[in-house]
């Protein structure tokens, strides 16, 4: 409606400029770009806090932060990175932009709802940051009672924020699922859908079913706070473990909300840059869905030393091992996809391959945490910190960055500098692994997490980790400057710079307002590459 005035054949960036037109747009591409910009800003903010407290950890003594500041910084870091970056990240930014293009649709099923989720996200983000900063909150992203309750009203506000963010996430998930059911182009059967979309589908299911628990927790906290009915607070006769159950009932599925979209991106990039059909497409597609389902029944593995019964611990351990299987299947399938391919080590592929490396370590370290006897030793040490950074940063964020490079020409119509992109990818790889691998060793040697002060014997590990972060930061900024710089000095992107087969590459770069001038008709699978004639 907005753009018919100017005609449908102008690219979406140019249809109507001006900040107001962006703020009221219902175009999935513009909304995706606004999400992308917001998420990257939060990523830089969250990263800055990490940088500061890692510098503080250079020695066991005080560098420049007090213990309270250190605690507030890791809280800010964790909350921002989890709730504002990796959980919404890939679906909200890249999913929004790419999903309608990949199924050959004009937009999402509910464009206005899509804009609503963006505003809910901004609102939630503002409340979350304000509550921590104004409340000097330092309860960590896990918000365990009763410590967190002493931080009120910060925790109540945090839950209000989580409520809005959760709603935003539910609406996005719902929108995606409905769109995939109803708006596929002619010929786009379920099994012709790119794997990125299967990942979006699985993520959507988890968003819709897990996130309401946040709202329930909020209501219970409000009841406790205003009516003095003990639910979580032991001084009122409540049970602090109940809060952990609620928290992980949401947050374990959330870890898969975080990583499954990364799987989707990795599949796209690996296929495109080896010019190969993904090996075992159906196994890869189903395994995303399997993870989404099993992910709901394993939350108790975060509470093996928290005072659960032996029976509960054993059942949760047993079930957790099953989540490892779909993850392993994917890794093997991606590896097999490379076989007999035509592999091009362009920047996105470098990210996809380091994703594979990091995710292998992230998955393997997850399995050891599910071994009950060993987890008693490893729980709440740096080992766990490293495990989830290998998955959340090393896998999800690395895939996200790879995806941004991969779709950058489509999103902006510009090519970034390939050499600089590759250098940045290598710096990210080296920096990330230097930062986090030593944390595995330090953790299994018994170094607890969230420690401002530590034993002298761990200093060398902390220092390597800090140096690693410096390298990682340089890599990330190089990548960012390279991407942003392409607006000015990048060459014009062709419609399909990588020779990929999925539908988004049939649209112009950048796409016109309604994506395709003619509705595409799909006659083959997403990775129907030709082979070399003998």
């Amino acid at each position: 409606m907005i753009a018919h005035v100017q005609g449908d054949n102008i690219n979406y960036l140019k249809t109507r400029s001006g900040i107001m037109n962006w703020l009221v747009t219902v175009d999935h591409k513009r909304i995706g770009m606004m999400y992308l910009a917001s998420i990257l800003c939060f990523f830089i903010t969250g990263g800055t806090f990490a940088f500061l407290f890692r510098l503080e950890l250079w020695s066991p003594l005080k560098e420049f932060l007090t213990p309270d500041q250190y605690n507030q910084f890791f809280t800010l870091h964790g909350v921002i990175m989890v709730f504002l970056v990796v959980v919404p990240g890939i679906p909200a930014a890249l999913g929004n932009f790419i999903l309608p293009l990949q199924i050959g649709a004009k937009d999402l099923a509910f464009p206005k709802l899509n804009l609503t989720s963006l505003y809910l996200y901004w609102l939630g983000a503002a409340i979350a940051l304000w509550s921590i900063v104004a409340g000097h909150a330092d309860q960590g992203w896990t918000m365990y009672a009763p410590y967190s309750l002493s931080q009120n009203p910060a925790v109540l506000w945090m839950m209000v924020a989580a409520f809005f963010l959760g709603f935003s996430s539910i609406l996005t998930g719902l929108n995606f699922i409905v769109t995939m059911h109803n708006m596929r182009a002619p010929g786009m059967t379920w099994y012709r859908m790119p794997l990125f979309l299967w990942a979006m589908y699985a993520t959507g299911i988890m968003q819709i079913f897990a996130t309401p628990v946040l709202a329930i927790t909020l209501i219970l906290l409000l009841i406790e706070n205003f009516f003095g009915i003990g639910i979580f607070d032991p001084t009122l006769g409540g049970d602090p473990l109940l809060m952990q159950h609620f928290f992980w009932f949401y947050s374990h599925p959330a870890v898969y909300i975080i990583v499954v979209p990364g799987f989707g991106i990795a599949s796209e990039i690996i296929a495109a840059f080896s010019k190969k059909d993904i090996f075992g497409y159906r196994f890869v597609a189903y395994s995303s869905v399997a993870i989404a389902i099993i992910g709901f029944v394993v939350w108790g593995h975060h509470m093996f030393v928290a005072g659960q019964s032996e029976l509960a611990d054993s059942i949760f351990s047993f079930l957790t091992f099953f989540t490892a299987i779909p993850s392993a299947i994917k890794v093997f399938n991606w590896t097999a996809t490379l076989y007999k391919g035509s592999i091009d080590l362009k920047t996105p592929m470098l990210y996809a391959l380091q994703f594979l490396w990091n995710f292998t370590i992230g998955g393997l370290t997850g399995i050891i945490l599910a071994i009950l006897s060993v987890d008693i030793h490893l729980h709440d040490t740096y080992f766990v910190v490293s495990h989830f950074h290998y998955v959340a940063m090393g896998s999800t964020m690395v895939a996200f960055i790879g995806g941004i490079h991969y779709w950058w020409p489509k999103m902006t119509g510009k090519m970034y500098n390939e050499t600089v992109g590759k250098i940045a990818a290598w710096l990210v790889f080296i920096g990330f692994n230097a930062t986090f691998f030593v944390q595995l060793i330090m953790g299994s040697l018994g170094s607890p997490r969230r420690y401002y002060h530590y034993w002298d014997q761990f200093q060398i590990y902390h220092q390597i980790s800090t140096v690693g972060l410096v390298i990682l930061a340089i890599g990330l900024f190089t990548a960012l400057i390279n991407l942003i710089g392409s607006f000015w000095n990048g060459s014009v992107a062709p419609a399909n710079p990588w020779g990929a087969k999925t539908l988004e590459w049939q649209a112009d770069s950048p796409p016109v307002l309604y994506n395709f001038t003619e509705t595409p008709i799909v006659t083959h699978g997403p990775y129907a590459f030709e082979t070399e004639k003998a």
């Binding site: 605690n71 330092d138 365990y144 009672a145 410590y147 002493s150 032991p234 001084t235 006769g237 602090p240 080896s274 059909d277 090996f279 075992g280 497409y281 196994f283 030393v305 928290a306 005072g307 032996e310 091992f321 099953f322 490892a324 299987i325 299947i329 093997f332 399938n333 490379l338 076989y339 007999k340 391919g341 035509s342 592999i343 594979l356 490396w357 292998t360 370590i361 393997l364 399995i367 050891i368 071994i371 009950l372 006897s373 060993v374 987890d375 008693i376 030793h377 729980h379 709440d380 299994s444 040697l445 018994g446 997490r449 969230r450 420690y451 401002y452 002060h453 590459f529 082979t531 070399e532």
Partner: protein, 313 residues
Amino acid sequence: MDNSKTFWLPEKASTFVDIVDPAFNLYLYISYFFFFLIIILVTVFTIKYLRRRPDQLATAQITHNLTLELGWTIIPLIVVMGLFFIGMKGYLHMRVAPAGYMQVNVKGQKWAWSFEYPSGAVNDTLVVPVNTPVKLALTSRDVLHSFFIPAFRTKADVIPNRWHALWFQATRTGVFPVECTQYCGTNHSYMLTAVKVVEADAYSEWLATASDPGKGKTPEQFGAILYTKRGCSACHSIDGSKAVGPSWKGLFGRQENCGAGGMVMVDEAYIRESMLSPTAKVVMGYQPVMPVFQGVLSDREVVALISYIKTLK
């Protein structure tokens, strides 16, 4: 046996080492195997099938291979089920204390530990005899904490209003660090203590003196001991420096501004009230985080602490 730390694991000092370390090491080899398998395959494929001409295509499109895929579903499944059983078996052993254990009650509070023996002894480090099963019953006076002894490979969360248990059997004498591993606020990383493992006769000797700590001491001397043993030192300094709580230096006789409570002159009654119901009057500029010592300190201990505070001019 070599008890020193290895590349991955800390020093060894309990029977649980024989449960946790072999499982950890077995898994380490399994993960080395899978990690290198993947990385080598990826590297080899990447080098071998690298695109050399811009228009080069794949040499084959292999969409799937059911045998292979079932293989890499079923083999990992068998491996993880094995790991599950190893883990559960070890864990059940680690959770159920054998008959004939001795028990110590452990209380965590921000940011100190206290250990209470059946004989009435109370101490700020844990002293136990070697080669004897010891069961710890843990509880917290305020927020969650977690009791972790890396050298013993065991830990358990410490929960208010609830007793959580942990047991171990030390295999050699020595002093081993104890850390709080559940985030509990400002000084979480200073919530450290130690387990001191001694021979049986040294233990009995220690217990006898510890059970009657005030014996042969003046109240002032006894108060000085309680200052550290009861964890007051975590929040109160005696040299005038401000910490989580006000310093005790020059406290007695001082005028304190207690906000709504008005100006208060610090005397015996006020100090007693501060210990037994700390929130009755909260000193301006401080948070009401002091634990309640009602029912924790005996009358004799309260008197000793007051006498000690009086000496800090």
